[in-house]
C-alpha cells in the first residue's frame, strides 16, 4: 500500500503511466460527447412543455455535475498533498481549478440562457442558482490565492487548505441556501419538480455526463503532465527526456 502510494507520488512514474492512459480517455470523451451531442441535439424528442429549448439540458447538467465534482476532487487532492506530501496530487489540484471554474461558468451561463424562454428571466435567486454562483466564487478564490504567492510550496499548501475549508463549507452553504429559499418562496418555478423524462431523453444525457467526466480526466492528465515538466524542469529525468528525441513516447523514457 505504502509502496504504491509513493510510486503514485513519483512524478516520473505518473508521467509515464498517464501517457498510456491519456489517449483512452481522450477517445472515450470524444466518442461520448459527439454521440451525445448528435443524439441530444437532433434525435431526442422535443419537450412537450419547453419545446426545443430543453436541449440545453445536455450541456447544462453535465457541466453542473462536473463543476461540483471537480471541487471535491480538488479538495481530496489537497488533502493527499498535505498528508502524504505527494506533489503530483497538488499539481493535479492546480490544473483542476481553472477547468472547474470554467464548468461552473458553463452551468451558470447555459442555465441563465435557458431561463429566458422558460422563466422569462435571465436570473432569479433560486437556491440552486445561488449556491452555484457561490461555488464560482470559491473557485475564483482558490485560483487567486494560488496565484498570489511567489513561493510555489506555500502556494500549494495555501490552496490546499482553502480547498479543504471550502469543501467543508459547500454542503453547509447548500443546506443553508436551500433552507433560505424554502423560507422565501418568491418564484413559482423550481428546478427540482420536473416530470420524469422518457428514456430517449435521458439516455443522451447520461452519455453526455460520462463524456464530460472522461474529458475532465483526460484534460487533467494532460495538464498535470505539463505541470510536472514545469516543476521538475531541472531534474535529470526530464532533461534526458527532452534531449533524447523521443518526446512523443515518453513512457519508456520515464521508466
Amino acid at each position: 500500500m505504502w509502496a504504491f502510494i509513493h510510486k503514485l507520488g513519483s512524478p516520473k512514474w505518473f508521467y509515464g503511466i498517464s501517457a498510456k492512459l491519456q489517449p483512452w480517455f481522450w477517445a472515450a470523451a470524444a466518442l461520448l460527447i459527439v454521440t451525445g451531442s448528435l443524439w441530444g441535439l437532433a434525435f431526442a424528442p422535443a419537450d412537450y412543455q419547453q419545446g426545443n429549448s430543453f436541449r440545453i439540458i445536455y450541456v447544462h447538467v453535465p457541466a453542473a455535475f462536473l463543476a461540483q465534482s471537480i471541487f471535491i476532487a480538488m479538495a481530496v487532492s489537497g488533502l493527499v498533498f498535505m498528508v502524504w506530501k505527494i506533489k503530483v496530487a497538488d499539481m493535479a489540484a492546480a490544473v483542476m481549478a481553472p477547468l472547474g471554474a470554467a464548468m461552473t461558468f458553463v452551468a451558470l451561463f447555459s442555465g441563465a440562457v435557458w431561463g429566458v424562454p422558460t422563466w422569462g428571466t435571465w436570473w432569479m435567486w433560486d437556491a440552486r442558482l445561488t449556491s452555484m454562483l457561490i461555488l464560482l466564487f470559491l473557485y475564483l478564490g482558490v485560483i487567486a490565492l494560488r496565484g498570489a504567492f511567489t513561493s510555489r510550496d506555500s502556494a500549494s499548501r495555501a490552496a490546499s487548505v482553502l480547498a479543504m475549508v471550502g469543501v467543508i463549507n459547500i454542503p453547509i452553504i447548500k443546506y443553508s441556501v436551500d433552507w433560505w429559499y424554502t423560507l422565501h418562496q418568491p418564484a413559482s418555478f423550481t428546478l427540482t419538480s420536473r416530470p420524469a423524462m422518457p428514456t430517449e431523453m435521458w439516455l443522451p444525457l447520461v452519455i453526455m455526463v460520462l463524456g464530460f467526466y472522461c474529458f475532465f480526466i483526460a484534460l487533467t492528465l494532460m495538464r498535470t503532465r505539463s505541470e510536472i515538466l514545469r516543476r521538475e524542469a531541472n531534474k535529470r529525468w526530464v532533461q534526458e527526456l527532452v534531449t533524447g528525441q523521443v518526446v512523443k513516447v515518453p513512457a519508456e523514457e520515464a521508466r
Binding site: 475564483l140 513561493s151 506555500s154 487548505v161 471550502g166 453547509i172 452553504i173 443546506y175
Partner: protein, 232 residues
C-alpha cells in the same frame, strides 16, 4: 547551561497574548471605533442611495444591517495578523514553545471582543434609523453577537492565508465572503423571523451550531495557514 524541559505555562502565554493585543488596540483608541463608524456610515449610505421611504427601509433593514455589520467585521480582519507579520513577531509566535492553536485563538478572541461585540451592541441604534420594527432589537443584537464570533473565526483563516501577500485586503474578502453566507442567512433570517413574529430559536440555535463548528475546526486551519504564510 542546562536544557529546559517544555514546562507548560500555556495559560501565562495565552493571557499575555490577550493582554498584549487588547493593549495594542485600546492604545490607539480611535481604531476600536473605526469598524463602528464604518458600520454607521455604510448604513447611512443606503437611505441616500435607495430611498428615504421608511416603509421600504423597514422591509430591507434586517438584511442591510447584517450585510453592513459583516463588511465592517471583514474589513477589520485584514490587520489581525498583518502587523505581527510585518514586524517579525509572528515568526516569534510560531517559534514559541506553546501550541499555536491556543495563541491564535487568543488573538481571534480579542478581535471579536473589540469588533464583533461592539457591532452587535450598536446595531439596535442603527436599526432605529432604518425604521426597523420594534420587538426585533434584542434578536438583532443577539444574532449579531453570535454570528460575528463565527465570522471572526472563519475570517481569521483567510487573514492567516493572506498575511504574507502584498495586496491582501481585497483577496481576503474574496476568500472569506463565500464562507460567510450561511451565517448571513441565519443571522438575517433570525431578525426577519422576529419581525414577522415567528419563532427565532431555530435560527439562533443554528447560529450557535455554526459557532460551535467554527470553534472546533477554525483554530487548526488558522494555525496551519499561519505556518504556510511564514514559510515564504
Amino acid at each position: 547551561m542546562p536544557l529546559r524541559e517544555h514546562n507548560g505555562g500555556l495559560m501565562t502565554a495565552v493571557k499575555a497574548t490577550l493582554v498584549r493585543d487588547l493593549t495594542l488596540l485600546l492604545r490607539r483608541r480611535g481604531e476600536v471605533l473605526n469598524p463602528l463608524v464604518f458600520f454607521a456610515l455604510v448604513i447611512t449610505l443606503f437611505p441616500i442611495a435607495i430611498s428615504p421611504d421608511p416603509e421600504l427601509l423597514a422591509v430591507i433593514a434586517p438584511g442591510l444591517l447584517w450585510v453592513a455589520a459583516l463588511l465592517a467585521a471583514l474589513l477589520s480582519l485584514d490587520s489581525l495578523f498583518r502587523s505581527d507579520y510585518d514586524d517579525g513577531s509572528l515568526e516569534q509566535l510560531l517559534l514559541a514553545p506553546q501550541p499555536l492553536v491556543a495563541l491564535s485563538l487568543a488573538k481571534v478572541a480579542v478581535h471579536w471582543l473589540l469588533t464583533g461585540l461592539p457591532l452587535a451592541l450598536m446595531a439596535p441604534i442603527l436599526g432605529i434609523m432604518l425604521a426597523l420594527p420594534a420587538g426585533s432589537y434584542a434578536v438583532l443584537a443577539l444574532s449579531l453577537a453570535l454570528g460575528t464570533a463565527s465570522l471572526s473565526l472563519i475570517g481569521a483563516i483567510g487573514a492567516a492565508l493572506t498575511v504574507g501577500l502584498a495586496r491582501g485586503g481585497v483577496l481576503l474578502s474574496l476568500l472569506v465572503l463565500p464562507l460567510y453566507i450561511p451565517v448571513l442567512i441565519f443571522g438575517a433570517g433570525a431578525v426577519q423571523a422576529a419581525i414577522f413574529g415567528e419563532g427565532v430559536s431555530a435560527h439562533l440555535a443554528i447560529l450557535g451550531a455554526l459557532l460551535a463548528a467554527s470553534l472546533m475546526l477554525a483554530p487548526w486551519a488558522i494555525a496551519a495557514s499561519l505556518r504556510i504564510s511564514i514559510n515564504g
